[in-house]
Structures are given as C-alpha cells and as structure tokens.
C-alpha cells in the first residue's frame, strides 16, 4: 500500500478543516459589512476615507505605524482603554469596513490610535510630533519622521506660512526652514479622520452599555 497517499490525504484534510473554520467562515461572516444611515443625521456611516485620507493610510502602512500602535478600543480591555481616553466605546467589526487594509494592530509600544482624531485634532501638533516626537512628548521612544518633511532655504520674504515653529533645540540652522510634504499632510488628515468610536453603528449601543464602568 502506498502510505504516502494517506499522509498526503490526511494532511490536506486537516489543513482544509482549519481553512474552512478560520478563513472561509470569517471571510463570510466579517467580509461583507455595509454602511448604515446615522440615526441622527441620516448620513451613511462609517464614512469612507477621502482620497487624501487614503493616501495618508498608505503612508501609515508603508512606514509601519502598526508595529507600535493599535487601532482598537479593545473589547476585552474596554474599561481601561476608555479610562485612558482612547475612545468612548469599544470598537466593533463594522467600524473598520472602509479601512481598506486592516490596521487593528497587535502591539502597544505606543498608545492606541483608534480615536486619535478626537483626542488630538490639531494639525500643528501632529506635524511637530511626527517631525520629532520628543518636541511634544518628552520621553517618547517613537521614531522621528524627518524624511516626511522638507528642509529648505528660507525664502527672501522670510519664513513661509507652512514652516514648522520648532523649539530652538530642534530647529534647523539659520536661514533654513522645515515644511511638511504632501505625504505628511495626507498622513495627518488620515490620523484626524480616526474617530472609530464616534459613529452610531447598530452594534454601538451594545458596545456602550457593556463597557459602562
């Protein structure tokens, strides 16, 4: 008897069993969400990303923000996550339907970003923080992103209105200024759009009640 046939058949069968359970089933059950009208305003939620926000998401993906930042008010930790101000309710699967590439994340070397658009809407703050996190957050170990900014000679008419207002120890040498590139503008627009707990999707009511302290 050719027993390799049995080994082959058996290992394909065990593989397929898990494939059905852990791939097919989630794709069926979680892969087909639709937008719903907001009960208050009637707008369709969760909203789609604008093209600028989408470009920002691509920067977020390319530069690997996910390796330190999650994007979920984690259901199992909702109480402490909310206590930290990371969101007003736990996030649910539908919240992510328009994200294109999932960025829920598995690591919290840095704080959660699911609602960073609510927590910190200031564009200026994000520019400074991305240029060098130590400007706004002393003690941070986050990577700086100087390559998302352009260092250029200050024009004859003085500093341009876009130039970052950098504290002296972070400022470039005399006669130079630092301005944001399109990439970092898009990234900040994306971060500002992250308000996952803000939408009143059908699952949200339950998500809120469950997390009352």
């Amino acid at each position: 008897m050719n027993r390799f046939r049995w080994i082959f058949a058996g290992s394909i069968l065990t593989f397929v069993s898990a494939w059905c359970g852990l791939v097919l089933l989630p794709v069926w059950g979680l892969g087909d969400f639709e937008q719903v009208p907001d009960p208050g305003t009637g707008e369709m939620i969760p909203p789609e990303l604008s093209s600028l926000e989408e470009r920002g998401r691509d920067v977020y993906v390319a530069d690997g923000c996910i390796y330190c930042h999650s994007q979920q008010v984690h259901p199992a930790r909702a109480r402490t996550d909310i206590e930290r101000g990371w969101g007003s309710r736990r996030t649910v699967a539908r919240d992510y339907m328009n994200h294109g590439r999932a960025q829920m994340g598995t690591m919290r070397t840095g704080p959660d970003l699911s609602n960073i658009g609510v927590r910190n809407p200031s564009e200026t703050w994000h520019f400074l923080h991305l240029y060098n996190p130590r400007i706004t957050s002393p003690g941070s170990i986050m990577a700086p992103f100087p390559f998302l900014f352009e260092k250029r000679k200050t024009g004859a008419g003085g500093a341009s209105p876009d130039a970052l207002q950098l504290p002296p120890e972070f400022a470039p040498e005399e006669g130079y200024e630092v301005v944001p590139t399109e990439d970092v503008r898009a990234l900040v627009a994306y971060l500002q759009s992250l308000k996952l707990s803000s939408y009143d999707v059908p699952e949200a009511a339950k998500a809120r009640i469950e997390t009352k302290p």
Binding site: F15, Y67, T80
Partner: protein, 487 residues
C-alpha cells in the same frame, strides 16, 4: 540500522555517498544563500532593536525607519533564512530517507535563484516603502510570484523523491517534510490572495492574517525542525527513535490542532467569540503533540545526554527540541484568556515569537546544517572553536532576549491594564528591557558571524580533509561509529 553483514554496510555507505553527492549543488545553494539572509536579517534586527531605545539612531532616511526595518527583519528571517534553509534541509533529508539521489538539478537551481530573487525584491520593496503592513506577509505583491514559482519546483522535486523512493519503511521525518512542502504553498497562496491581491473587507483580514502567520511557524518551520530532530538525534547517538506510535500521534495531532491555532492572536478583539474559542481550545490541545514529541525525544536521548558534550549537531538540535517544548507550553498557556489579557499588545509576545522561531527553529536548523554540510562537501568544519563561538553566544543571547522581554512585557501588560498609570511611565518601565534585548540580539548576531565565517572557511577548502568529524571534544572511545563524517 547496523547490519552485521559487511557487504550490506558497504552498500549502504555507497548509497548515502551517492545521495549526498547528488544533493551537493541543489541543497548547498539553498543552505549557502540562507546564511546570507541570516546575516542580513541580523543587521536589520539590531537596527530595529536599537531604534526602540535610541529613536534618533539612523533616523534621517525613510528606508531605515523603524516601521520598515522591523518588517524587513522579520521577512528576511522568515523567508530568507528559515525558509531557504528549511527547503535545503527538507530536500536533503527527504532524499536520504527515500534513498534516492536528487535528480532535478536544473529546476532546483532555478528554484534557488527565484527564491533568492523573491527575497531580494521583497526586502528591497519593504525598505523603499512598499510594505503591505500585514504581519508576516510584508513583502510587496511583486515578490510573491518569485516565491510561489520557486516553491512549485521544490514541491515537484519533493514529489519526485517520494515517487521514486526505494521500498521500505516511511520514517516520521518524511511525513513532516512531505506534508510541510504542501502546507506552506497553500498557506502562502491563500493569505497572499485574500489579503494582498484581492483583499477581503478589512474586518475579515486579521483572522486570515493570523491563521497564516501562526501556521507559517506551525505548519512550515515546525515540521522541518521536528523532522530534523527526529532524523538527527537517532543518527548521532546511534539508536532508533523510542516509539513509532508516539511519533504518529504527534504528527496527526500537530497537523490537526496547530492548523486551528491562529485566532489566539485576536483574543478579546472585535471578532465572534466562537472563532476565538476554537483557537483557544486548539492551542491548549497542542499539549498532545508537544508532550508526545517531548517524551519520544527524551526517551530516545535517555542515557546518551553525554553526547551533547562532543556533538555540535546534537547540542544545537537538542537545544532546539527542548525549546520546542518550552515555547509550546508557553504558547498554550498564553492562549488562555486570563493570561492573554496581560500579555497581549506587549513585548511578551515578541519574546515568545523569538523562542519559537529562534530557540527552536533556528537552533534546530543550525544543528542540521552542521550535520549536512560535511556530507555534501566531503570535508569537515574547519574549527571547533568557531562552532563554540556560534553556540554559546546564540544560546546565551536568546536566553537574555527571552527572559528580558518576557519579564518586561509582563510588567508592561500589567501597567497597561491599570488605566491610571500614565502611558509615558509604561514606556520608561520597558526601556531597560529593550536595552537588554539589544545586548541579547548582539550576542546572537555574533554567533551568526562565527557561523558564517566557519561556513565560508569551509567552502574555501581550508577545512580538515580527514575523515574525523569536528567535535567539541575528541571522540570518546565509546562514541558510536555514526559520528564519522560520512556515515
């Protein structure tokens, strides 16, 4: 294994010699290039590690930013080092155990070239900013065709060996390698298709992602690592494996339960509870394959632990096998919701991953390469001191790595769960442990450098040409005959 008939012994030697000579090129190419990726991955690892406690280090350029270097490290190690070495080790063992010389020389040469191109293109892609940010699948989509095409040739070569095998018993290592050669391409194809090529909606992506990522270890590196342990431990100490039945139970329970494990990476997340529970149960059930394999290996080794003193291969492989037990038990426990509630989102998980991928898989593969290369080249390793300089820094390095991040990650998790602890305090709390990780990682990199030096020196034909194997100690009187280089 030890027929008394001298003619049979001579024939069996001759057969192994032919098998090894036929494997020299195809297997040698995979093993040699895996070493390049091991070194590249080590450099990327150190960069990433240092950046976590010195964020300003080499931060000017985009291609060296943490969020690119880290996935580049993971992928060069997973696909460049472990998979490349795994293919070589798998093909060699399959050829030995089927007792058929490898015939597909040109297709395997092409496979090795394609595989390395895939890795080069993929790593370059991540660094230039095309990473997919899907954990364990960061190589951009243009690297995938190289990898898949290459693997098709590998599977074909494996199938040819099995079809042409000499009649006789099918050894457990053959089961593992044969199955893994099918599991890996199915995993990669499914995951790449559903996540990168034609992505499913975002909420469904993490389950597919973690089904893949967990099985890359469970159904690809693990079977090759176990196959190596099952093959090499009996070979070196010169006695058969303790129990045939235990190895069969171990194989089937691994095949079934490991495949269902992945969702424990999503415990507590916004997914249906039954999905997570299925994986928690399967993770705990992993005790069955793990304990059977541990018992089987232990009773095979029993009374022969002294051999660890002189056999480099055995020392690496047994270190790997023991780490397999440790990492699996840790994994089963970490999959419990109560434990996971502390450890998820922390450096603890990173430590756990390295215990599996390094202390188990990499150390086992090192051991296998120490065994295979002298047989391929008919030449010995040049220096026992270099092998020592590989083993000890690697072993001590991973110990420091695992202990520091497990402890630091645990503390981090406890504080994260205390909503009143300011976040920056948690960052400060982890800093010493992140520093210790760089120390451990540097030691591991030192070990790899010694390994590479040894390998290159050997290739440069400066190794001992004699029949005596390079052992940590001179061969003891009672050492079995299987220790000589070309048995």
């Amino acid at each position: 294994m030890t027929p008394s008939d001298p003619e049979a012994v001579r024939k069996s030697r001759q057969e192994r010699l032919e098998v090894d000579r036929a494997a020299r090129w195809p297997v040698g190419m995979f093993l040699g290039s895996s070493l390049f990726w091991l070194l590249a991955g080590s450099v990327l690892a150190l960069l990433a590690s240092i950046k976590l406690h010195n964020p300003g280090f080499l931060a000017e350029a985009g291609w060296l930013t943490f969020g690119r270097v880290r996935p580049a490290h993971l992928n060069t190690m997973a696909y460049g080092w472990l998979s490349t070495a795994g293919i070589g080790i798998g093909l060699w063992m399959l050829s030995r155990l089927c007792r058929v010389p490898i015939a597909d020389h040109s297709s395997l040469t092409l496979a090795a070239v394609l595989w390395n191109m895939g890795n080069a293109v993929g790593t370059f892609g991540i660094l230039r900013g095309d990473s997919t940010a899907i954990e364990w699948l960061e190589y951009p989509t243009y690297a995938a065709p190289f990898l898949l095409a290459s693997f098709a040739f590998v599977v074909l070569a494996g199938v040819n060996l099995v079809r042409n095998r000499r009649p006789g018993h099918i050894y457990i290592s053959q089961w593992y390698i044969f199955a893994a050669f099918f599991w890996f391409p199915m995993l990669y194809f499914t995951a790449h298709g559903l996540l990168v090529l034609l992505p499913v909606q975002a909420p469904a992506q993490p389950p597919v992602n973690w089904w893949f990522a967990h099985n890359a270890l469970g159904l690809w590196f693990t079977p090759i690592g176990l196959a190596a342990a099952y093959y090499l431990i009996p070979k070196i100490i010169g006695r058969p494996i303790h129990s045939y039945y235990l190895s069969a139970i171990g194989f089937w329970s691994l095949a079934f339960f490991y495949a269902w494990n992945g969702m424990h990476h999503l415990i507590g997340g916004p997914y249906p509870a039954f999905l997570i529970t299925a994986s928690v149960v399967a993770s705990v059930m992993m005790f069955i394959p793990v304990v059977t394999v541990a018992i089987n290996h232990h009773f095979t080794m029993k009374g022969h632990f002294k051999a660890l003193l002189w056999s480099p291969t055995l020392r690496f492989v047994v270190f790997g096998a023991m780490s397999y037990t440790l990492v699996s038990v840790q994994g089963s426990l970490t999959a419990l919701r109560s434990v996971n509630h502390v450890t998820h989102f922390t450096h603890y998980t990173v430590a756990h991953a390295h215990l599996g991928v390094y202390a188990f898989a990499s150390m086992s593969f090192f051991g296998a390469i120490y065994y295979i290369m002298p047989r391929l080249l008919e030449r010995e390793w040049p220096s026992r001191w270099l092998i020592r300089l590989h083993f000890w820094p690697s072993a001590i390095g991973i110990a420091i790595y695992w202990l520091s991040l497990t402890h630091g990650g645990g503390l981090q998790g406890l504080e994260l769960n205390r909503g009143t602890t300011p976040f920056m305090e948690i960052v400060e709390l982890t800093l010493p442990y992140l520093g210790a990780r760089s120390v451990g990682g540097s030691l591991m990199a030192l070990g790899h450098a010694a390994f590479a030096a040894s390998f290159i020196w050997m290739l440069a034909r400066r190794g001992l040409q004699g029949a005596e194997a390079t052992l940590f100690k001179r061969r003891a009187e009672e050492a079995p005959d299987t220790l000589t280089a070309r048995s």
